[in-house]
Structures are given as structure tokens and as C-alpha cells.
Symmetry: C2
Subunit: 319 residues, 2 copies
Amino acid sequence: MCSRPEPPEPLRRVAVVGGTHGNEMSGVCLARYWLRAPGELQRPSFSAVPVLANPAATAACRRYVDCDLNRAFTSAFLTARAHPDDPYEVTRARELNQLLGPKASGQAFDFVLDLHNTTASMGTCLVAESSHDVFAMHLCHHLQLQSPELPCRVFLYQLPGEESYSVHSVAKSGLGLELGPQPQGVLRADLLARMRALVAAALDFIQLFNQGTAFPAFEMEAYRKVSSVDFPRTETGDLAGTVHPQLQDRDFEPLRPGAPIFQMFGGKDVLYEGESTVYPVFINEAAYYEKGIAFFQTEKLTFSVPALPGLAPAPSPAP
Amino acid sequence: MCSRPEPPEPLRRVAVVGGTHGNEMSGVCLARYWLRAPGELQRPSFSAVPVLANPAATAACRRYVDCDLNRAFTSAFLTARAHPDDPYEVTRARELNQLLGPKASGQAFDFVLDLHNTTASMGTCLVAESSHDVFAMHLCHHLQLQSPELPCRVFLYQLPGEESYSVHSVAKSGLGLELGPQPQGVLRADLLARMRALVAAALDFIQLFNQGTAFPAFEMEAYRKVSSVDFPRTETGDLAGTVHPQLQDRDFEPLRPGAPIFQMFGGKDVLYEGESTVYPVFINEAAYYEKGIAFFQTEKLTFSVPALPGLAPAPSPAP
């Protein structure tokens, strides 16, 4: 993701994307609803475009048809010559790159908000590539201040040296919303209302920025991905145990050396053998079994985010 | 399902089936584990056979490949001439009918226990076709007495005049275990332990019966399916609303006329317009969206289950 250009300009081209994963129902249903009733995404200075990212997977109520769309926005996929045998999601990533990008270009959308659900007990989680996107960090801070009684954590998912691959990486700035727990294929009213309120608050923030509001510097707390841990498995790859009840539903809580992480079907516990405390996230996410991920280990960090200056007032139109 | 024959005989042929739905992970993982370590299913008078019912759907972590296996055990499917274009699950139903049946024959297995999960907040639910299977009702009562502190409801799913269609209907007697909430594709340690304990208690009950134990008559409370209710939908069939937060997670609780059942995306509530109190179950089950079922309406009933007489002692073997 390229940072927003300097000098800052108002954000006019904004998209709200649902159904990047076709069985994550909050975003699927909101995108479909907004496509019929887009007024909710209008603000005085801009209108966000609703996008249903993966219509085929959504119709089948599956995460994807051929491969994970939210890993397909790499330069290798986006720049390769199209072929009739390309996976559906690679073709779709190129279409979305034309619609919302091209990635890393001046023509790209100013901001993309991408809506996700997880089966993990993540509550409200804001997903950014890294802490370098100052605009996204300010938006996260704004969302955290909207409902201070509800935890609203920031997860930084990009590993050092890793290329960006998510749908929101095609825009100049972007953020994922990850709400859970919600089973795949299920729409819960409570999570739907929460996601809808977050989207509204995000659009309100962009409106404030476009109006010239300046935002002061602040200290941000976030969880940065370090590595992943697979389930215990048999020689043939089947599960040999499951997430320990003492770890289940404890996303973002400290995991200390010696604490149990898995319960083997044979009865034994598997303990966390790391040397330092980590903060597991995406614990027992359904879609990650096939990826060999029982949970991510993150480190908790605090960093300073510089002020976001207010835009210069637009020149008055010529008389 | 045919009732167990008179005079009663010990149950020697018992099966525990997992993976009838390939993304309901408690049964999938237990069946796979028991196939490697069958000792847990042994009792002095019999050994239960572990069966992975739908290997293709299990490998794909989907409910089914072509059609719902747990609706495929009808005489139309089981007796039709096999054809290469038959749905995978119809072919598999015939194979399971050969293994565990044939349905309604004297050669059929004595008992089949079928392991399921739901995304609904059903807790521990015992699923029987009807109250006429006296042996199954006694087993339900036995399981309820094992953990009186945990609700353990009985759901009677067969509508009047409806042919039996489930995998356990091929045996002389059978029961489904339905544990939730658990997302599709996720294995939770708490539900796994609960299911494993229920299976053990069920096998212990059969062992007691085989040993000659008699069981007295009792009064049973159960929830009998009356009808189903679909989600509100647009003209094109998309969801137009979701289960109301006041109904979500309230399985088995009374729903009274005038109470809200759905929340429309446009904001309005939909109220329950029935004339009498019902007891919703399978509220917001992921697999039922495509079947047009937001929840089942049940009626709560109490009935008498006659005593289960003890078996006559087996004649001593000839010297």
C-alpha cells in the first residue's frame, strides 16, 4: 500500500467492500443491502461505493471458489498475462484492481474499507498492514474513541519483507474490519449492527478530514503478527488435538511460557514453549485449519502516531 | 425406523457415526480418532463400530458434496437402480445402508448413534424421530440423568406422515447428538469433551441393558417439530433481515405472540404472529439458510415412556 500523497487532499474515492470472503455474512449482507440502498454511504463531501468483492463465492456461501481472494492482490497475480485457466479469484483480483486501483498508482481509490468476520473471539478488530499508514492509524484511533467501553484492537498483519496482498492494499489507504465470533454462513444481528456503526463512524471521520479538521498526535497500542502456530496433527495430517479450553476465546490475552495451548485427543496437554509472553489472535478461526494455523502469535507494542494536519481550505470557486 | 423386535435381545451391533456432515467437527474428529484407537468404544458385551459417514465432504470440510446425506436414507434413494450420475451422497447412503442396514430389516444394526454440531445455541440436544422408540427414549433419559446440572433436551423431528430419512433410521434404533453452538469447520474442546462423555454414557447404558438391567417407566419432556420459518427475503431471494437479537441464542425458550423474531436491514422489526406460544430450535443454523429455515417452531410436550424390561438371562452354554 502506498502512503497517501503529500500535500494531503480530500478523499473523494472511497469504497466499502463486503464479501471478499463469501461466507463472512456481515459484510456480504451489508454490501448487498447498500447496493440496493446506497444512501447510507453518502456524506456531504463524498459517497462511498459499495462493492461485493467475490460474487461467485458469495453465491456458494464459501470463503472462495478457487483460492483466497484476500491473498491475491500481489504484483505477480496482478501483472501476469491473463489466461483462461486462471483461478476465479485471480481474475476477480485483476477486475477489482481495475475498479479500485491500479495498485500503487495515483489513480487508485483514496480509501478502501474491507469487511470481515472470524469465528475467533476477536470482538472488534481493526486490521492494518503496518503502523506506517498514518491516515489509517488516525481512523483506528477515531473508531476506538467512538465506543470506549468496547475493546477495539488494532492488528498489524504484515510481516517484515512481505508483499501486501489484501484487497484494501490496492487503494492509497485502507483498513479491514474483523468482527467475531460469528460462524461462517451465519449473520448475527449484534455483529451486523456493530459493523454498520463502525462503517458509519469511518465515513464520518473521512468527512471530518475532508472538511479540514486536524487530528493531534497520539500513542497507539497495537498487536503485531510475529508467527503462526499449527494444530497438532497425525502423520497423515489429520488433527491430533484441539485448542486447549484455557486458550479458546482468549484472543489478545497474554500467553505465558508453560501455559497449555492444545489438548490432544489422547488426553495430554501441549504447553506453550516460547521464551516470552505473546498475544494469540485468530484463535481457532475456521478458515485457517487448511492454512495450518491454529492461531497467530503477536507482540503488543505501543508507538507514536504523528498529527494529521488539517487540509488547506479549498480555493473559492471563480465567480 | 423400525422398533426393536420383541422379545428383546441384547444389542451386539452398534455404530457411532461421525462426519455425516463433513464440517461438523466434533463427530468428524472423534470418528477419525476412534478409527485409529477403537478401544474407547469397547464394552464387555459389545464393541461399537466407528464410522466416518461422508469421507468426501469431510475431506472438503463441507456439509456435503452433492446433497445432504442425512436426508438421503429414503426408500426412493435406497431402492432405486444405481446410476453413474447419482449424487455422491446417494451412492454413499446405499453403501451405509449395506453396512448398517438394510433399513427395516432383521439384519440391520441394533443401534446407531449419529454425531452432529449446530451453529445454534442448542447446548446438548438429543435428536429422535419420534417418541415411539422406547429404547431410544430410555437412552435419552439415562443421558439426562448423567449430568442433571446441564440442560439436555430431546427434539422429535419427524413430521406426521413423513418418511424417515436420517442415517440412524437404517438401524433398529438410533439417536442423533446435536451439540452447539460450534461454527462449521471449528473444533471446540468443550463440545468435544461433552460429546465424548455422552457417547461413553450411551455405550454404558447399552452395556447395562445387555447385562439384564431393567429400567422403570418415566415421564419424558420433549420438543416436537411443528413447522419451519424462513428469513425475510428480497424479491430475488437475498436476505432482507436477520434473526432478531431478542430471539438469537434463545433456543428452547418460549416465543410468545407479538415477540420480535427478525430485524429488517431497513430497521423494522418483524413480530411473531402465531396464536400460541412455540419453542424455537435451530435458531440461525448456518446450514439451513439454503433450506429456507431461520428456525423450527416446536411444541413442548410431556408423555409417558413405559418400562424397559430386563433381558432374560442368557442360557448357560452347554458343558
